[in-house]
Amino acid sequence: MREVFARAILKLAGRALGPRHQVWAWAMEAELSVAIFEGRPISFAIGCLSASWRELVNMPEGRLALAVHGLAILLVVPLAGIGLWLGAIGFPYLSIGDVGIDGFLAGQSQQLPTLLVGERAMAPALTLVILSLSAGQFLLAFALVDRKWSRVSQIARFNAAALTTLLLVTAILSVAGGLLLVMTAALAIETLALVMLNWWRELVPDDGWPDAPSQWRGAARLRF
């Protein structure tokens, strides 16, 4: 069990080192068997993991990876969650009324319809757009973390289109748009962050590992 856990930790360490320092990941893996024999696999593996995380900050591609993950976890996913929540509470066609945020959180939402009778047929479509925006944000987070940049661009354009549709329709229906303006601002910040990340990644050395002699790669995978 300890051996399995130690190997899992070393795999994580290897991933953090990236392709450019992969030889060090293999070096650590090779020493793990000695650490297991000595009865100290976990402490050895945890030390290797801390070493790899420190190297992550020292490498340009490591800092980019941290920024990408930070954007995905701290901005994109929360926006997706907020979109999901808004869709669930019937935004923008149901208003919480005068109860305020405290009252809403206490389950006292007045659920006042904001659409006129003849416009209520729009409600499902509005929910669909909100939920599509939320789903788009989740997909954006995955594409970011996977570094599929063309997909990030496609999804970001879809999200922008969904938000634009929402803004136009709510403006035409004269539905309160304060929260939508906040969402628009958040998405604008997100788009700016994506553009900056794209510029940054063009400055970072290629994630490939061109300087490793091929004999090393072969040697590290041989079993004698």
């Binding site: 060090w24 020493e31 030390g47 290797c48 040697a219 590290a220």
Partner: protein, 91 residues
């Protein structure tokens, strides 16, 4: 780093593996490997893959000082000898 250089210079050109280096220097893996990476990048240490002692095991990475590393080791020893115990400068 000094402990690592001392241990590698004591080996007099022999290749040393990672785990024995850890035990000999008292450094943890979290300290040893970043040092080895830095020293390799700076040309103080060289490394090679070696066949394992037992069949079925992966090859092991081994390390030794380069000429630049040996020069640095000599300089450090000289500085330590000149400084003496507790930082006192000897005549």
């Amino acid at each position: 780093m000094i402990a690592l250089i001392d241990e590698l210079s004591t080996a007099r050109g022999q290749w040393l593996h990672g785990y024995p280096l850890m035990k000999a220097t008292g450094l943890s893996s979290g300290t040893l490997y970043p040092l080895l990476m830095r020293m390799t990048e700076q040309g103080l240490v060289e490394s090679e893959w070696q066949a394992p002692d037992e069949p079925g095991r992966p090859p092991r990475h081994a390390y030794r000082l380069t000429a630049a590393g040996r020069t640095l080791a000599v300089q450090l020893h000289t500085t330590k000898a000149d400084t003496g115990p507790r930082g006192a400068v000897t005549a």
